[in-house]
Amino acid sequence: MSDHVGTLPAATAHQFDDAVQQRDASGLGMWVFLVTEILFFGGLFTIYTVYRSLYPEAFGHASGTLDITLGAVNTAVLIGSSLTMALAVHTAQVSRNRRLVALFLCATIVLGGVFLGIKGVEYAQKFHEHHVPGPSFHYSGADAQHAELFFCLYFLMTGLHALHMVIGVGLLSVLAVMALRGRFGPSYYTPVELTGLYWHFVDIVWIFLFPLLYLVERHS
């Protein structure tokens, strides 16, 4: 593709029949990656299911120490970021408005940053309360040993999720610069679309983490 340096890489590579097949192949490749991601997080969800079924009381009590307001607000923030991400893809699909694409990408970055900031506040609270597993772990409730197991899973799952968010913010930053340079438009928006798939996947992981970590035995 060296003959296309500095221009839109809209041309169809020779191994594809047409641009539609080329775009579908890129999408399928991204989905293959997301399949591995589903099973990657799935391992942690399996561990969670096993230990919650073995120690339901300890998990219920430990879940009650999490800040449900911050958790719910963060869920809404992440859903908002998925909307702005979808709007960025939509704008690139239907127009050559480079500023609007970049604006929606930046909005997604900002909302992702808000999510990570709130997560940081929650982590700081947990460190302050000595609820972080390790030598300084201290827990006043019943069955501290298995509550520590819950907090292990809490930090593993939210930490891995947050790492994915940080990577996503990095990808979106590159895309925002590319968008401002006019790289995307109706004929070529594959990077925006695929990064969107990744971002929505991270949103879905949180959609499950929120009830599983924050909403256990809240009624008692």
Partner: protein, 102 residues
């Protein structure tokens, strides 16, 4: 640089995106509120059902699965098949422990 005709990607109407966004917010509020109501063992079932509905909305509309190729659907289906296998077979072990002795 000549502008090529757009490969016929399905353009989802903006109203659908905003509708899904509102629905996701409503479901988030609902699952948070219902968590404080004692439904016994059904609390988990309701929370997970709402999460599955929310995830389905994101998959179908934000991730365009409703408009994608059948081949992509096969790949996504396989992911959830193996996820179910992993959790299902693991839990069949955990749940059935001690069934011999009793």
């Amino acid at each position: 640089m000549t502008e090529h005709a757009a490969p016929h990607a399905h353009v989802v109407p903006l109203a659908v995106y905003f509708g899904v966004f509102i629905a996701l917010l409503v479901f988030t509020g609902a699952t948070t509120a219902i968590a404080f109501v004692d439904l016994g063992r059904f609390n988990v079932a309701v929370a997970l059902t709402i999460a599955v509905v929310k995830a389905s909305l994101v998959l179908l509309y934000f991730m365009h699965l409703r408009y994608t190729s059948r081949l992509t659907l096969v790949f996504v289906g396989i992911a959830f098949f193996w996820l179910g296998t992993m959790i299902g077979l693991t839990m069949s072990d955990i749940v059935s422990r001690g069934w011999f002795g009793a």
